[in-house]
């Protein structure tokens, strides 16, 4: 019989309590009628479906009741839904992006076995690898089942109606097999290919845009930078190696000239660890191999180390921090949402105390009431969670600025179900926990107390719980306000940084000249002068010039500097950026010429090799001396300083830039330094610069019909792009902070409004006894402010800790920045006062007669 009683636990307890005895008796009867075994079999077949049906009946009933009570209180339902949606949405979005960038495996088979191998030189933890070093590493290491190298470039695709510039990855034959991704169409580049038979593999995007997704492209011949190549494959859209903007892959052959120079840092090296070899083993082997090579080539490899990194860790610590800060903010919002929801539910519970007492008095057991409340909470959580998914869906595209470009992953993450589930569970648990509190009381001995009319609603303990929740909300919003405040200050600081040139009014276009075709220096010079002459003749153009790379478009391009009679020391304290420029470059981009002269058209190989250097360069090598006329060794020649110009932050606003050296375009041998051949056309205009682009495209076309124009940008845009990921983060954080402030204000207002109505009798008595209404208002206001301060103080402390954790994001701003903290606290207190105002006014207007009469 006890076993049967246990079986009955399948029924809801209300049903079991009601009919358990009867059911047991019927079972005894059945055993007597049919025998033990038959009775048991029959009963099990009877209990299971009926238990499910009874649960279903109750659920239906509870749902009906829930919907009815929700219709009665739409304000509560909408507020709760919004709060839940915001919490779930913000967290899902933030953690989806973070998971996508930081945690999820890269889209290659066994991607955890993929490592990048870099040279390490003073000042650079990750320096590209020279071809002979790559060859030797490959030969000497045993930790890898494969090692490949690649470098990126751009090539002009000719053949369509307009020539197009394609971002090209040059890969060694063993690189693509190493990644383990198959081609969507055709095949990838393999060791079976040879340089004698040039091939190319297209990205999905280019296949779609340039070839209309035509499957018959395989085998067709295209011309890239003048070289005919056979198309052998198309990669799937998910293949984003090395970066997501790669358009085409072509083989990279390491010939004798490339293998001769151990200081030509050109390649990025990727390895796949052999099964059973640990990352640490590979790293220590790399150190050994490097020591071996350093012994053999002491001169070239002086100061050069080697570092092995997981492919996943190719991520700047700044992008990581940006994302982590966002996650922290999202957690704050989740906390706020939970606190707010708890607050709402508690307030509602107090309001519903009488209703629940009535139900309980009418015979509803505690279990039924609990079930009812849980149903309500779950329905609320589901509604809010659904809205949260929408919020997340809308928010994720706004966060893609935070997906760094250097990783081989897609631009936009997809919504992550696991994270959605997590946020929904947290909110759901909050909803259920606080939804249940009133039920805990409803079942107790005090059940009937609620029925007595005139009973004052709301117990002291629950009030305290609400007060704590409000303080938590205030704290969370203070944290968010201060963090976003610190980031805003940083932003202002960065935007105030002088880049060293005047970006406004300057248009930048790239005409990347194919190396072979434009190998002779004079052919290039001819191209430049013809283009520049026509561009300068355009109405509205003030000046125009060519340079290797416009500032902030290319971080590298740095060469060692030698002083006469001394060997070149490879050392980051001894390098300078190298840029070739045409005359009037400084005038066009807005770099001031401090002393001396600009480069001239007449500066060619028949004259003394000259250079214009930055002030920082002159200061470094000839402090307290006049640099004009001084000579130094740079880029294969002795150069004489003829001019000194202002410093430029060519590496970007947030980074230190080396001193700069500018050389005249004609003072270079044919086929030498082709990487630095001027490709960037900069144009300063009196009119809107963007309006000139079509005319300039036409000019380039007229000069060389096969020459594409790419990367058309305003220099102001180039500068703004420096801070765009910060901007994106700031926008999101700012919105979250505002929402937090709003939620905290609403929470405070709700609590005080409730206090006032609950205490209206007491207030009435006070007024009747002669208290001033002003005093009453002040009393309520004080209560609100005490709560606010209780939140502000821990909030400031947490924000300070958070600020220290994201210190490296705060360029030149201290985490304890008094102005920011002061402003945040002031805003918070202001919001609190606004939130308190209405309840305080209502308190002061309590009519003592009416309040006392209701007793």
């Amino acid at each position: 019989m006890r076993l049967y009683r246990a079986l009955l636990h399948l029924y809801p307890s209300s049903f079991r309590n009601e009919y358990g005895d009867e059911l047991t008796r019927l079972f005894q009867q059945r055993i007597a009628d049919e025998g033990c075994a038959a009775a048991w079999l029959g009963e099990i077949a009877d209990v299971v479906p009926n238990a499910i049906a009874v649960h279903g009946d109750i659920l239906r009933q509870d749902m009906r009741y829930t919907l009815r009570s929700m219709r009665r209180t739409p304000g509560f339902v909408i507020t709760a839904m919004l709060v839940v949606a915001l919490g779930v949405g913000a967290n899902t979005a933030a953690f989806t992006v973070a998971d996508f960038v930081l945690i999820r495996p890269l889209p290659f088979p066994r991607s955890d076995r993929l490592v990048k191998i870099w040279e390490r030189t003073p000042g650079y933890a990750r320096m590209e690898v020279s071809p002979p070093n790559y060859r030797d590493w490959k030969a000497l290491t045993t930790s890898y089942s494969g090692m490949g190298a690649y470098t990126t470039n751009a090539a002009n695709l000719v053949g369509g109606d307009v020539p197009r510039r394609l971002a090209t990855a040059l890969v060694t034959f063993d690189l693509m097999p190493l990644l383990g991704v198959n081609a969507l169409l055709g095949r990838t580049i393999t060791p079976g290919d040879s340089l004698g038979n040039p091939v190319a593999v297209l990205s999905y995007a280019v296949w779609q845009s340039q070839f209309g997704g035509d499957p018959s492209v395989i085998g067709r011949v295209i011309r890239l930078d003048g070289t005919p190549r056979v198309l052998i494959g198309v990669m799937p859209p998910t293949f984003n190696f090395p970066t997501r903007d790669t358009d085409v892959w072509v083989p990279l052959g390491l010939g004798a000239p490339l293998l001769a120079d151990r200081t030509n840092n050109l390649l990025e090296v990727l390895g796949r660890l052999r099964p059973g070899v640990s990352f640490a083993q590979a790293a220590s082997e790399a150190q050994m191999v490097n020591a071996q090579l350093a012994q053999k080539y002491p001169k070239e490899l002086e100061n050069t180390g080697i570092s092995v990194l997981h492919l996943r860790d190719e991520l700047s610590s700044k992008s990581r921090l940006l994302l982590l800060a966002l996650c922290g903010a999202a957690l704050c919002i989740l906390l706020l949402a939970c606190a707010n929801l708890a607050n709402l539910l508690l307030a509602r519970a107090i309001a519903r105390q009488r209703e629940l007492s009535v139900r309980s008095a009418l015979g509803a057991g505690r279990e039924r009431i609990v079930r009812q409340l849980v149903t309500e909470s779950v329905v609320l959580a589901l509604l809010g969670g659904g809205a949260g998914v929408l919020v997340a869906k809308l928010a994720i595209p706004a966060l893609t600025e935070l997906v760094p470009e250097g990783l081989p992953i897609a631009e936009q993450p997809t919504l992550d179900g696991r994270i959605l589930l997590f946020a929904a569970l947290v909110i759901g648990a909050t909803g259920i926990a606080f939804g249940l509190l009133p039920a805990m009381r409803a079942g107790g001995a005090k059940a009937f107390a609620g029925l007595r009319s005139g009973v004052r609603e709301g117990g002291g303990r629950r009030q305290r719980a609400r007060a704590v929740l409000v303080a938590v909300e205030v704290a969370a919003s203070v944290v968010l306000l201060i963090s976003s405040g610190l980031l805003v200050r940083t932003m202002w600081r960065l935007q105030a940084v002088d880049p060293g040139f005047r970006a406004d009014g300057v248009l930048k276009l790239r005409t990347a000249l194919p190396y072979q075709k434009y190998a002779p220096t004079l052919r290039r010079a001819d191209f430049y002068s013809r283009v520049l002459a026509r561009v300068r003749a355009l109405p509205g153009v003030t000046s125009a010039a060519y340079t290797s790379f416009a500032p902030m478009t290319m971080g590298g391009g740095v060469w060692p500097v030698g002083t006469i009679g001394q060997p070149v020391i490879r050392d980051n304290a001894n390098t300078a950026s190298l840029r070739f420029v045409t005359p009037r470059y400084f005038e066009t981009i807005g770099i001031p010429i401090r002393r001396g002269r600009d480069v001239e058209d007449a500066d060619d190989t028949t004259r003394t090799f000259v250079a214009v250097v930055s002030e920082s360069f002159a200061q470094r090598y000839w402090p307290n001396e006049d640099a004009i006329g001084k000579r130094f060794g740079f880029a294969f020649h002795q150069r004489t300083v003829v001019g000194i110009v202002g410093n430029v932050r060519f590496r970007g606003i947030e980074r230190q830039s080396e001193p700069q050296v500018y050389l005249p375009t004609k003072q270079v041998e044919d086929s030498s330094l082709v990487f630095y051949a001027p490709n960037d056309l900069v144009v300063r205009a009196r009119v809107t610069p963007a309006s000139l682009a079509p005319a300039i495209r036409q000019i380039v076309r007229a000069v060389d019909p096969e020459q594409p124009v790419s990367d058309v940008e305003l220099m102001t845009g180039v500068v703004a792009a420096q801070t765009s990921s910060r901007m994106a983060q700031l926008r999101v954080l700012g919105i979250l902070a505002l929402v937090a402030l709003l939620l905290a204000g609403v929470g405070l207002h709700g609590l005080l409004a409730f206090t006032v109505s609950a205490r209206s009798q007491e207030i009435g008595v006070r007024l009747a006894l002669g208290a001033q209404s002003r005093t009453i208002a002040r009393m309520i206001l004080r209560e609100g402010l005490v709560l606010t301060l209780a939140g502000v103080i821990p909030g400031v402390a947490i924000a300070y800790a958070g600020g220290r954790a994201m210190q490296s994001l705060l360029v030149g701003v201290k985490p304890g920045d008094a102005a920011t903290i002061g402003a945040a606290v002031a805003i918070c207190i202001l919001a609190a006062i606004v939130g308190c105002l209405r309840p305080a006014l209502r308190a002061s207007r309590v009519d003592p007669i009416a309040a006392l009469k209701s007793e």
Partner: protein
């Protein structure tokens, strides 16, 4: 309890088990086991209600107001004090009548089309 014809119609058609329970209670108050026995006898043993099915139906019918727990008890000698007895409410009677009418009409319609029960 007052009810309208619409309340009655809202419950039609009645689930067979509910109808059997109403019929079983038509000639007097019964407890659960008695209902099971009555149904079994009337259907020549074809329908034996399980305990769960019975009480789930009873629970729902109580809420619908078709039946009520009876406070009248049979003579003390035969009464088992712990047993619960159920009786038809006026509303239950009305619903049972309406269901009977509905079924009768259905049968009449079927006969008119020549569908006669097989005689064995």
């Amino acid at each position: 309890m007052t009810y309208t014809p619409a309340d009655v119609d809202a419950l039609l058609p009645l689930p067979p088990v509910s109808f059997h329970i109403l019929v079983a209670l038509a000639d007097g108050d019964r407890h659960g086991y008695a209902i099971i026995q009555d149904v079994e006898v009337r259907t020549d043993g074809e329908l034996r209600l399980g305990a769960g099915t019975l009480y789930r139906s009873i629970h729902r019918m109580l809420e619908q107001g078709l039946i009520a727990e009876s406070s009248r008890r049979p003579a003390r000698a035969v009464d088992d004090e712990r047993r619960r007895y159920y009786r038809l409410t006026p509303f239950g009677t009305a619903v049972a009548r309406a269901e009977t009418r509905r079924l009768t009409q259905l049968v009449r319609l079927a006969r008119a089309r020549g569908l006669m029960p097989e005689t064995t």
